[in-house]
């Protein structure tokens, strides 16, 4: 105990060096996004200038809000699908018997190992065959599909700890499996559902590769892809590009301030990311 109170000088020094490495780019990004385009090239990069929100207005003027809406729709849809489907599947795996229950669990376990980056060519093929190319569902379904294995794993582990007696008692009262799923399993697994939901939301909100490959028009553009597009569109107006970066990150940052532990829990849930 006493040892822990000793200040670890080399450790603390290294810790502050890393703090600078982490914080400097973020600091630079924020203060630069508040500059005028003209001021950027001549200003001292470290000292904030007189802040202006001009670049933010500019980003919003070129359709940022409609990309934001697309991202919100995709994220909401992915989270809903993942929560409902994964909970149902986990319930079937934990409460069901026979080869389908155990087999599907093993299948999801294997699915954890499929890297979506490597699977992008055949996914493009399948999405094309389903006539979904350049639609929001083209982003929703694959993103949800790739979030399901880890979600099922988390929920199964959680549901396994629920005492069987609770289910038996409800069954004696005449409840069907369907009712037990929604009235017992769902409320009980709220913490695990929160983890899963945050994980799926971050996948959907931050995903870049699916939008890059599966959409093209501005009507289906989501934020990470819009950032990439802004980079080409604005060219050397670096403050505007960085304003877009800041804007897309704000919602996640707000979440971090409200529930840091939950957000970090959702992040590590994606072990295989």
């Amino acid at each position: 105990m006493r040892r822990l109170l000793h200040l670890n000088i080399p450790g603390a020094l290294a810790g502050f060096v890393w703090l600078v490495i982490v914080a400097l780019p973020v600091y630079w990004m924020v203060i630069t996004s508040l500059r005028k385009q003209a001021g950027y090239l001549t200003a001292d990069p470290i000292v904030p200038g007189r802040p202006t929100t001009a670049q933010y207005h500019r980003v919003i003027a070129v359709g940022f809000l409609s990309y934001l809406r697309n991202s919100a729709v995709v994220t909401f849809a992915v989270v809903s699908i993942v929560l409902v489907f994964a909970l149902m599947a986990s319930y079937a795996i934990v409460r069901g018997r026979g080869w389908i229950a155990s087999g599907s669990f093993r299948l999801f376990l294997l699915g954890l190992a499929i890297p979506l980056q490597a699977a992008i060519i055949p996914i493009f093929f399948v999405v094309n065959k389903l006539h979904l190319y350049d639609t929001l569902p083209a982003l929703i379904f694959p993103t949800a599909a790739f979030s399901i294995p880890i979600s099922v794993l988390i929920l199964v582990n959680f549901l396994r700890d629920v005492p069987t007696e609770l289910f038996e008692a409800m069954k004696i009262d005449g409840a069907s499996e369907w009712q037990m799923l929604w009235r017992l399993a769902a409320p009980l697994s709220r913490p695990a559902l929160l983890t899963v939901g945050i994980f799926a939301a971050l996948q959907a909100w931050n995903g870049f590769l699916f939008p890059l490959v599966l959409t093209q028009s501005s009507g289906t553009r989501v934020l990470p892809f819009a950032l990439y597009d802004f980079q080409t569109q604005f060219g050397i107006n670096v403050p505007a590009v960085l304003a877009a970066v800041v804007l897309t990150t704000l919602p996640v940052f707000a979440l971090y301030l409200i529930g840091r532990r939950q957000l970090l829990g959702g992040l590590t849930a994606g072990f295989s990311r």
Partner: protein, 298 residues
Amino acid sequence: MRAGSKRKGASPLLALPALGLFAIFALVPMIVVVVLSFTYYNGISSPTFAGFANWSRFLHDSTTHHAIWLSLEIMVLSWLFQTPLALLLGVFVSGRQRYRSVLAAAYFVPLLFSAAAIAITWRNLLDPNFGLLANLTHRLHMSWFPTSWLGNPGLALYMMVFIISWQFIPFHMLLYQAGARQIPRSIYEAAEIDGAGRVRQFLHITLPLLRNTIVTSSVLILVGSLTYFDLVFIVTGGGPGFATRILPLDMYINGFERSDMGYASAISVVLVTAALALSLLLIRVTGFGRFRSTHEGA
């Protein structure tokens, strides 16, 4: 669980929606990609049978071989750079001191950004003319310090490793922090009484007890860097020249920029196989199937 074995359990039909979605967008593609690797396919017209043409090209294409080599290089470099840093920092922020929890809250901030956001920020930050790094080295009269990190074929790969690490070290730090917090304090107190110093405690207590975390984090780094795409694509696009054209990028360029999806599929098969093999190793070694979440009830 055995208690109600007389009764029928939950209907397996409940698993169908999840299974269906997963099958269509993850399992079927795994079969499709193998088939496509034996075809000529430009992404628009229907694929036509190509025999082993793509595979024989895979054996002879020097650009792809270079890409494989780069992927292995980035894998090893990522591991060498990320593991010690994440381990030390993770153990450091596992301490309960107030200043350490404040530091930890800041350390995790990179996790909030999308890969696209990180890539675009670094790309501008490293701009050889107007970027922060060039500006700072100029003002500090450090003309010996290279400013053209991304334009220099000899340096670009190292800079990519650094940016990838900037993005992912916080994640692995989080794993190590959770791992280190599970080590009982009494062990350290006993070692303290025996007169073991900080370094010896780290080497003889922390390190061995974090073995599982080290394995998990390492395999995640290895698999992750093998299939890594987003950052490199936006920051360098594989350049300058072929200096950062790692295998997933080579696959993307062949498939989507040159419309040679048959050949890209062959590369994809190789990538998936390698990633699967590595990941199965992860499940084997760490007992991921008995996975318990480390973040509840803390």
